[in-house]
Amino acid sequence: MFDLIVVGAGHAGVEAALASARMGAETLLITIDSDSVGWMPCNPAIGGPGKAQIVREVDALGGVMALNADATLTQIKMLNMSKGPAVWSLRVQCDKWAYSLGMKERVENQPHLHLRQGIVTRLIVQKDRVKGVEVSDGMKFYSSAVIITAGTYLNGRIYISKWMQPAGRWAEPPANSLSDNLKELGFKIKRFNTGTTPRVDKRSIDFSKLSVEKGDEIPLHFSFWNEPKIYENQIDSYLGWTNEKTIEITRKYLDMSPSVMGIMVKTGPRTCPSMEEKVRWFPDKIRHQFFLEQEGFHTNEMYMQGMYMSMPYENQLEVLRTIPGLENVEIIRPAYVIDYDYIVPTQLNLNYETKIIEGLFIAGQPNGTTGYDEAAGQGILAGINAALKIKGKEPFILSRSEAYLGVMTDDILTKELFEPYRITPSHCEHRLLLRQDNADLRLTRKGYQIGVVEEWKYRKLEEKEKMINEIKMELESISLKPNKETLSRLKSFGIKEINKPMLLTDLFKRHNFTKEDLRKLEPSFTGYPDELLEEVESDIKYAGYIVREQNKIKESIRWEKFTIPVDFDYAAVPSLSKEGRERLTQVRPKSLAQAMRVSGVRPADIQMLLLYFKSSKK
């Protein structure tokens, strides 16, 4: 008898199992192949806009994704540096074998966590309550809760043109009976597709015809619990362009795509269009860019970011060989596409537990999302909530104004998914507040209080908070007077003059006044680490906007508090639009605020609801 069983050891499963085990729950992690724990079947990259914020939040809650990425990275880069720090986003590429091995090591050495290989075929359910799982060899495991983190394995089918094979990933068996079992239990299930690029042999490429993309050579770190450092020996990536010839050849093979042939579902991520889709959707474009990224330190396989395809192998080769530098390219693994089942996520509660089966949680791709980062984020939340449920404690729910994790949760639970869900900064209305640099300040204390964050991390947080307060106090206590000496100093540093006494903190508000300027003016600040000064700088420079955001948060809390009964009969409000009523009935929002965000619900519908509740209260 276990407290919790996690089905699948991908990015969601690993974080879920580790989190619940850290919280003391006896956890069983079942995977189809114990050689591929935390495997990255697509691009071995972590982070990027929106995703980096999620990874940092997982890290702040004691998760391992960032730690493992730091330990196994081959290249590190801060994106969006030309814009403000609210949208700076770290991205790393990892050695995909080292990454997986690192995860396996963490899982195998975590107290209270047990790893088993096996294919889960069905859930053991009694009276709408989950009791455990059954694996393909007939063995049964019992538990109080189960989390399904099955990735693309639920009825997964991979395709290269008309060739199709049931699989969760290349050469790995799918979990078909589990998916059928979920349907039997009454879950609404839909299908999405996704794909991956060819892997090409490094030796067959003429890099002189491509441009080099180097990693950053400044001190960086993904995990808050590592110190920033300059990474030596990073692997270069390369940027190249397709041309009119490439497009012409691709056009020849458009009808070889399984989605065009009608044998595969069409709904894939629009943000990762395949070569075929690019040619169809953007017929005016004469070229498309792509990146070549090496998949590890000890391999010649290179991932071709941007070159997703589903045509036959020999056609893939023909298309690639039109590209300058790739005239003699050899493909090691062809590109393929996969379609798979997902469980429509409006069937979940905010704690990732399903509405119809108590104790059953779902996280990651089975919720219709895409990305390792998104999966890890849902995994840790599901793991935490399952552990809390077992202990009989209140669920751990993050709101849209607290974390990107909250934004993602709210989005997938309320919006209708038309494609696999990927988080980006534009999803997050409070992003000036929810930055990757302050995820620990936002979440680590909360995590510590529920027992998912280790003591030493909490102590480290306290130190950081103390130092930030010191910096802020110093900035508020030092005032510059516009006397001759100060003015000439400002001039010599190239800083715009002041015409009245000014606190350093006010000077810091100026958009062109940097932390370097601060250190020149007041050398005592040299003692503080860069990151902490940047942290304070962001808080100060964004202060006006943050106040505005906080006011909006207060306003929205008003509507959050306006609760709607779970069993509310939307048919009783006759003037609701047809679509609005259908969506509201499906999603069953907990509050008027959530109802406002349900896609397909018009502002007029909200007015109707409000009027209805107002008049029924009289």
């Binding site: 806009p49 929106g50 994106l79 969006n80 030309s82 814009k83 403000g84 609210a86 949208v87 943000t271 860019q289 990146f291 970011q305 941007g306 980006t424 900064p425 534009s426 992003r431 000036l432 958009h511 062109n512 964004y542 906007y545 009783a572 409000v573 006759p574 003037s575 018009r602 502002p603 007029a604 007015q607 109707m608 409000l610 009027l611 209805y612 107002k614």
Partner: protein, 448 residues
């Protein structure tokens, strides 16, 4: 909106016809019950009589029209009974309909329902009130243009452009590998364009408000320059008492007229001179107030008198106002020349009249008209304080965005543009609190 409302939709009183209107889910059921002929098809006129189904008592003869949802004013089922325009017969019909289950409509409830059902946006709803309240032909024109979506179209264009720019910025933030960041020049151009659109819409407020609420034209000047005589000349009747004695007008005198299709309130003020007369002092204070609140000042001088210190003092009061310099009493021997006056007013145009002899009045009227409506109105005008404030706020955010472009703070530029979009939504009613709705719809008379 789960109930059916009823109201008399024509003005209270005796008229040719009177209309009783029903709207809501049980409309047809209730309406048909009181009408003698079966109303088979929607949007078709049926002639019959209206009766009380309980007593079988006939109330009136009339016409019934049924509009089926959503093809009606409110977007719900609507039933209209047109009968003779009395007071008691209409009230009786409403009473019967209420007994059958309809509820008396609140102020503006029909239009409110139309808004909530997406039949009109908030600006169009406001235009309905304005159309009903319009006092002159011009005001009808302005309201109609708003009702036909003139403003909504422009706001839609502004929103479209804002969305385009925001999506370019956000695209580059979300997908730095795939979407190129807009250059400072491109971004600045896009924002400047939308800022200009917003500003030009905002600038229509002055004219819009003048036409909608009436323009205040204040006649000012020192005592005994002939202000009251001019007032009477403009009104075409003797409203103010006129005498030779300086200080005859002790208080401000006002009169509202239809001035070539525009509602204009002419205000005659007490002249300003040093005095110890308590009543005159009070009047003087009122004069100063009237000048401050006036939209257009007719600043008068007496051609038969030398320029006095009081004239000059007074001139200061009207600085910065929209003013017309009027030189009166040009029928008398001149002691004050145009040249002298011009030097005092930095070469502003001066209109020469004789209020007493009604000379130059037509020219003056033309000039007043042109001041109220600078050129023929081609665009839709904004007319309410609410609209003005929204646009003013939006301009502020757009200006801030423009400022941020140069420091490459695209994420903040985006914030400012989003605020501007929200304001546009508030303007058209897509984002609006119920408190605001209540205020707007309470301006309607019942039955609209």
């Amino acid at each position: 909106m789960n109930d059916t409302i009823v109201a008399i939709s024509t003005p209270k009183g005796f008229g040719g016809i009177g209309v009783v209107r029903l709207s809501g889910p049980t409309t047809f059921f209730i309406g048909q019950k009181v009408f003698s002929i079966t109303v088979k098809n929607p949007r078709t006129v049926y002639t019959g009589y209206i009766f009380n189904p309980d007593t079988k008592e006939r109330i009136d003869t009339g016409i019934a029209i049924y509009f089926k949802a959503p093809h009606s004013y409110t977007g719900e089922d609507v039933f209209e009974l047109q009968m003779h325009g009395g007071v008691k017969n209409l009230e009786l019909v409403v009473k019967v309909l209420v007994q059958l289950g309809a509820r008396l409509a609140e102020r503006g409830e029909f239009t409110r329902r139309a808004f909530l059902n997406g039949k009109l946006d908030l600006i169009e709803a406001e235009a309905v009130i304005e159309l009903i309240e319009a006092k002159t032909e011009k005001a009808v024109k302005v309201a109609a243009r708003r009702l036909f979506g003139g403003i909504s179209d422009e706001i839609f264009e502004i929103k479209k452009r804002l969305l385009y720019t925001i999506s370019s910025i956000e695209g580059a933030i979300d997908f730095p590998f795939d979407v190129e960041t807009l250059s400072v020049g491109q971004l600045d151009k896009q924002i400047t364009d939308v800022l200009n659109l917003t500003k030009s819409l905002l600038s229509t407020y002055k004219v819009g408000k003048r036409i909608e609420e009436g323009t205040k034209v204040v006649i000012a000047g020192r005592t005994n320059v002939g202000k009251s005589t001019l007032l009477n000349a403009l009104l075409k009747f003797d409203r103010a008492i006129v005498s030779e004695i300086p200080g005859t007008t002790r208080d401000t005198v006002e009169e509202m007229v239809d001035f070539f299709g525009i509602p204009v309130r002419f205000i005659d003020t007490a002249g300003v001179r040093e005095t110890k007369d308590v009543i005159e002092v009070l009047g003087k204070e009122r004069s100063v107030e009237a000048i401050q609140q006036g939209d257009i000042i007719l600043f008068m001088f007496d051609a038969s008198e030398m320029l006095t210190a009081e004239d000059k003092k007074f001139a200061k009061l009207t600085d910065g106002k929209d003013r017309i310099i009027v030189l009166n009493k040009t029928d008398l021997p001149a002691k004050l020349t145009i040249k002298e006056l011009k030097s005092l007013f930095n070469n502003e145009d001066i209109i020469q009249i004789s209020a007493l002899k009604k000379k130059g009045i037509e020219v003056l009227e033309q000039i007043i008209y042109d001041k109220i409506i600078p050129k023929e109105i081609e665009t839709a005008l904004i007319t309410t304080e609410r609209e003005k404030n929204c646009l003013k706020e939006a301009v502020k955010h757009l200006e801030k965005a423009k400022e941020l472009v140069s420091s490459s703070r695209d994420e903040l530029v985006s914030e400012e543009l989003k605020e501007a979009i929200i304001l546009m939504g508030i303007l058209t009613g897509e984002e609006v609190s119920t408190e605001i709705l209540d205020t707007i719809f309470s301006r309607f008379c019942i039955g609209k």
